[in-house]
């Protein structure tokens, strides 16, 4: 029984990782109705920025805030410079631009920072640890939940959050009420990049920082985001946790490690067949 509990808790910890990146995916989906395949690499890159700052002697929390800010600006810049010119291109062409971004960021990170793994500091005091979870795992989960709460408040209660949702849903009508849709998209990118940066800084102490840190995680985050409903931040977090726990239990007790991901994915797709909009998503037409 203890073995099960341990696996569940470990699953929650890794699930928290998936959840944090899934949140960034949901963010950008809410703002642009696109799934950004480069999201993981953007988060990885931001984490390297944080790592450089910490190494340069900046304290953890100042470095954290600075990184979130830099990531936000970089996200806005990427939208303005890279994505803007393909605004009217077919959806799949935009997806290909995302893939281009992914390989560029991955490669440039390897070039600048090399492929050797780097340890990344954790800001959480030992007191945060519980019996089966390290302080950082608990702290990272809490941070994910805080980010989720902030996003919820932002989208639900601020005019800007409302305008961003509107711009993604119906750009034409949004312009008619005076919303600067272009800036909303850029803002969405900025916020997603900032959320991604937080995810990266929470993930890095667990999996170690290297240019491929996020490539595996992106896959799980994608599944988690869709399982929860791609337009629902809360769903993304629940989806992430479900995927993490499910995978651990399958691997440890049901079918072994070799095929646990396969079975987990089959189960997820099975759920989606029954509930095509995910657990918490609203029913609506989606684009990739």
């Amino acid at each position: 029984m203890e073995a099960v509990l341990l696996q569940v808790l470990a699953g929650l910890a890794t699930g928290g990782i998936y959840a944090s990146l899934a949140l960034a995916l949901v963010m950008i989906y809410q703002a642009t109705h696109l799934v950004n395949f480069a999201q993981g690499e953007m988060a990885m890159f931001a984490t390297y920025i944080a790592w450089s700052l910490v190494n340069a002697g900046v304290g953890y929390w100042p470095a954290f805030l600075l990184t979130v800010l830099i990531a936000f600006v970089l996200g806005v810049l990427i939208e303005r410079v890279v994505i803007r010119p393909v605004e009217n291109a077919p959806v799949l062409a935009v997806v290909v631009v995302f893939i281009g971004l992914l390989v560029i960021l991955n490669s440039v990170a390897g070039w600048i920072f090399t492929y050797t793994i780097k340890s990344f500091p954790s800001p959480f005091p030992p007191a945060l640890g519980i019996r089966y979870m390290s302080p950082h795992q608990v702290g990272a989960l809490l941070v994910t939940l805080i980010v989720l709460a902030l996003l919820y408040l932002f989208f639900r209660f601020t005019p800007l959050g409302l305008a961003m949702r509107a711009a993604a849903q119906n750009p034409v009508s949004s312009r008619l009420v005076g919303i600067r849709v272009g800036w909303m998209l850029a803002l969405g990118w900025g916020l997603a990049a900032a959320v991604g940066a937080v995810a990266g800084m929470m993930v890095a102490p667990i999996v170690y920082l290297d240019p491929n840190m996020m490539s595996g995680i992106l896959l799980y985050a994608f599944a988690a985001a869709l399982l929860g409903g791609i337009d629902s931040p809360g769903g993304a977090v629940v989806g992430g946790l479900v995927v993490g726990v499910l995978e651990n239990l399958l691997g440890a007790f049901v079918i072994g490690n070799e095929l646990k991901l396969v079975v987990a994915l089959v189960l997820i797709v099975g759920v989606l067949l029954v509930r095509p909009s995910g657990f918490f998503g609203s029913v609506q037409v989606s684009r990739v």
Partner: protein, 395 residues
Amino acid sequence: MKGRLFTIAALLTVALAFPALAQKKYDPGASDKEIKVGNTNPYSGPASAYGAIGKSIAAYFRMVNDRGGINGRKLNFISYDDGYSPPKTVEMARKLVEQDQVGTPSNTAIHKYMNAKKVPQLFVATGATKWNDAKSFPWTMGWQPNYQTEARIYARHILQTKPNAKIAVLYQNDDYGKDYLKGFEDGLGPQAQKMIVAKASYEVSEPTVDSQILQLKSSGADVFFNITTPKFAAQAIRAAYDSGWKPTHYLNNVSNSVGSVLKPAGIEKAVGIITSAYVKDPTDKRWANDPGMKAWRDFMAKYNPDGDTSDPFNVYGYTVAATLEQVLKQCGDTLTRENVMKQAASLKRFRIDTLLPGITISTGPSDYAPIEAMQLERFNGHEFELFGEVISNEQ
């Protein structure tokens, strides 16, 4: 030797799963005084970390050329990105042989083909056992001690020190992991079934191996054999320690770097880890003033300034390149495929200062495993302490 071009391909497909080879070819048609060395290496994709090996080999050859080359010939190093993908490796290998006229590289994908074409492939950068098979593949030679040899050394040590051990194994689910596992099981002999109480595999795409460690821990094992690449090794060391599991921990040589594995894992969590070594760890304080490593550091500063001096791959590439340099020197002016292969197979107690004391490189017509000796070492919280003899494994 005027009026002749010697092209040599040292194809070091540097990857655990798709290993590398070096080889050469005699081409009587050309009239230049250079030796071409070809190589394919992943510079992009999921295994880009191995790119450091190709880059440090290139840097080493720049250094050789600055010194005047080998027997008056400059080395021309041609290296292509294989993206860690078999189809791309095949394509790039053929490009080297057929287009750049350097010879043929190889990996699993073209292992048979290369031998059929009688193109020497030297110093495949992997420990997969199949690269040391002189009889079936006389044109292919590995370099480092192969995985099975290493695993047998650990097995023997366990049998000697802890005959009643209950062993748990964590391994990467690919041919690198399986090769180690096989060597380990062979080494334990008939006891293997009984002694190994738990095995868990992981895929490189998995974010963590925490779940696997918990599985292994709950098996009640008191010995842990850790067959993982650096990132997962660091995770496993930390997770085992954090979960309160205190087995005797054997860590494969692939991940025994102090700076890039043990430190990230947490030095205090790595105390007592047993591993084996044949090259010097650039991050180990023991070698801070070692002349061999000093020479390597000077080399890094001058020829490979972008390289990471904590990355063992850079020592690896340097040492492989030095071995190839020696082979080419021995060839003198007879740079034919046959002679290159012959010379590669007649290295006698050749020493490079980046190898551990007591480790030498020897080959023979039926001995295609250049480095066969390793020494066990244990981490004391500050550095690795070598213990026992240099173990020279005769299979």
